[in-house]
Every structure is written in C-alpha cells, then in structure tokens.
C-alpha cells in the first residue's frame, strides 16, 4: 500500500533531526530499557518499526555510524548528554 503522507526531502541531513534521532530513538526509546548499555545496538536500531520512527528509515546505517562517532567524541571530551543522566 502506498503511503499517501510520504514526503521525501533530498539534501544534507538536518543536524537537529540527527540529534533528535540519537536522543529520542537510539538512546531514548522504550526499546533501550532492557539493554545493558542503555542504547540500541545497530541491529536493534535497524529493526525499529518504520511506522514508529520513520525519519531516517533508509539511512539507519549512516545514522548509526554518526552515532558511534558522536559517542566516541563525547567520551573523549568527558561530556554527557541528557540521556546519560
């Protein structure tokens, strides 16, 4: 079935959407509650339903690469974000 609501934007990813995806889905969704490190691993992230989190559905590997780079940088700087508290 076609998705009548689908809008496709082509261009640079919006940093706000990317940060929102880190905080809200990878680190902050209900699926992370049972995980040991309090964030989704790559496979779990890729298997999150498109209906609930569809923003980067076709780019989840890239998003996860970005997330790994972000986490590494954050650890080096000894920073913390809202989900680490």
């Amino acid at each position: 079935m076609a998705h009548p609501w689908r809008v496709i934007i082509i261009g640079d990813p919006d940093p706000a959407l990317v940060f929102g995806e880190f905080m809200g889905v990878i680190k902050g969704s209900e699926h992370t509650v049972g995980t040991e490190r309090r964030c989704l691993d790559r496979e779990s992230y890729k298997s999150v339903s498109v209906r609930s989190q569809g923003t980067f559905y076709h780019k989840r590997d890239d998003i996860y690469d970005l997330f790994m780079a972000y986490t590494k940088l954050k650890r080096n700087l000894q920073d913390y974000d809202a989900a680490d508290r």
């Binding site: 609501w5 689908r6 809008v7 496709i8 934007i9 082509i10 261009g11 640079d12 990813p13 919006d14 940093p15 706000a16 959407l17 990317v18 940060f19 040991e36 490190r37 309090r38 569809g54 923003t55 980067f56 559905y57 076709h58 780019k59 890239d62 690469d65 970005l66 780079a69 972000y70 940088l73 954050k74 650890r75 700087l77 000894q78 920073d79 913390y80 974000d81 809202a82 680490d84 508290r85």
Partner: protein, 218 residues
C-alpha cells in the same frame, strides 16, 4: 527518585569505563530524612552486593546485622556529617552519592562559640568555595530566597535558619567542579557548535552520491 539514583550508581559500578563516577547529591532540609534515605540507599546497595556472595560469606553477614538503636536527635548532633570536607570542591568521589541537608546552620547557645563549628552542609561548603564563608564571623550570610521543600523541615524555634546562599550574584563563581559539569553537558546547541563539524563529513554532507531520504509526516 531513590531508585533512579540507585540505578545510575549501579550502572556505573557495572560499567566503570563509561565515564567518571556520577556525583549524585540528594538534598533535603531535614537531617532525619537525609539520614533515612542514605540508610535505605546503603541497604539496597548492600542487598544487591550480597547477590554475588558465596554461602559461607552469607552466613557471616547475619551476625553483623544487629544495630544499636540511637536515641540521639540528629538535629542536636553537632558532629553530624563532620566527616565531610569543608568545601564543596574538596568532595571526593568516595563521598558520593551524597545525602545532605540544604542549610541548617547550627547556632550554639554557648557564648564562647556563637556558631557551632560543625555545620558541614551544602550551603556552607559552597560558601567556603566562594570565599565568603568565615566560620567565626557569625551568621551574617547573604540572603536569597531559595525554593526549598518546607514541608520536610522540622520547625525549630530555638535554631532559626539564618543561612541562605546567595545565588547568581555575578561576582561569585561556583566551584570548578560545577562549572566543569555544566560545560560538559551536550545540549543541541553544543552538539551543533562543537560536534557536528567533527563528525564524518561523508555522512553529514549529503552531496553527490550520498543523498539523504528523509521521510516525515505533514
């Protein structure tokens, strides 16, 4: 709230590589409450720890459980938390999680010591950091109303609370630790300013082959 503190502490214990020890502080007006909550916290932590004990070790524990009942009112105990350092910045990782009262400057009735030397509470510690804290010059401490939980404060007409921390007065600087703590928080603004350009550009620049398909609901 207690369980959240417990979970954060426990997570750090299990994964110490995740970062420095989380410095959690529980603040209340009442010494009784601070003590009770700490006791409960320690009890919960030790029961989590006993899960890893062997049967022999477990047998040993039972004998130590008996406790002395204290008939001392914590509000009258001048030594209360005198194990803590005088300054907030001198607190060590071992002092955390910290259960402490907000402000209970103790005014001793003895003329020799107008102020008890033991009031190692949060305000005093912060004040000593700021450089305003002089333990001997009485209880003239800048006043600022801070919203506290008055309901938890036992009324004590003999010992009025005189201490108020001056907050945000421009000339003062809080301890290095707190500043460090605030600096290290990644908000979205911080993410955009300090992180975004350092992430792999092949991923953040959606030009050429790498085009992004972003689906959203209108």
């Amino acid at each position: 709230m207690l369980f959240k503190m417990l979970a954060i502490h426990r997570t750090w214990q299990q994964y110490p590589d995740m970062g420095p020890k989380p410095r959690q502080v529980f603040i209340t007006q009442s010494r009784v409450l601070a003590t009770k909550v700490e006791e409960y916290f320690v009890k919960l932590m030790s029961s989590l720890d006993t899960a890893a004990y062997s049967p022999e070790e477990l047998r040993g524990i039972g004998k130590d459980v008996e406790q002395d009942i204290e008939f001392v009112d914590q509000d009258d105990n001048e030594q209360w938390r005198s194990d803590l350092p005088g300054k907030f910045s001198e607190l060590l990782d071992e002092n955390f999680p910290l259960f402490i009262t907000y402000d209970r400057v103790r005014i001793s009735l003895s003329p020799k010591h107008p102020i008890s030397p033991f009031y190692e509470q949060l305000c005093t510690m912060l004040q000593n950091d700021i450089g305003r804290g002089n333990r001997n010059d009485g209880f003239i401490i800048p006043e600022t109303h801070v919203h506290g939980d008055e309901a938890t404060s036992p009324t004590s007409p003999t010992f009025p609370r005189k201490s108020r921390l001056r907050a945000g007065s421009g000339t003062t600087s809080s301890s290095d630790y707190m500043q460090q703590f605030r600096r290290n928080f990644v908000s979205y603004g911080e993410f955009l300013a300090s992180y975004w350009d350092h992430l792999p550009q092949a991923l953040t620049r959606g030009l050429g082959e790498r085009r992004w398909l972003i689906r959203g609901v209108l």
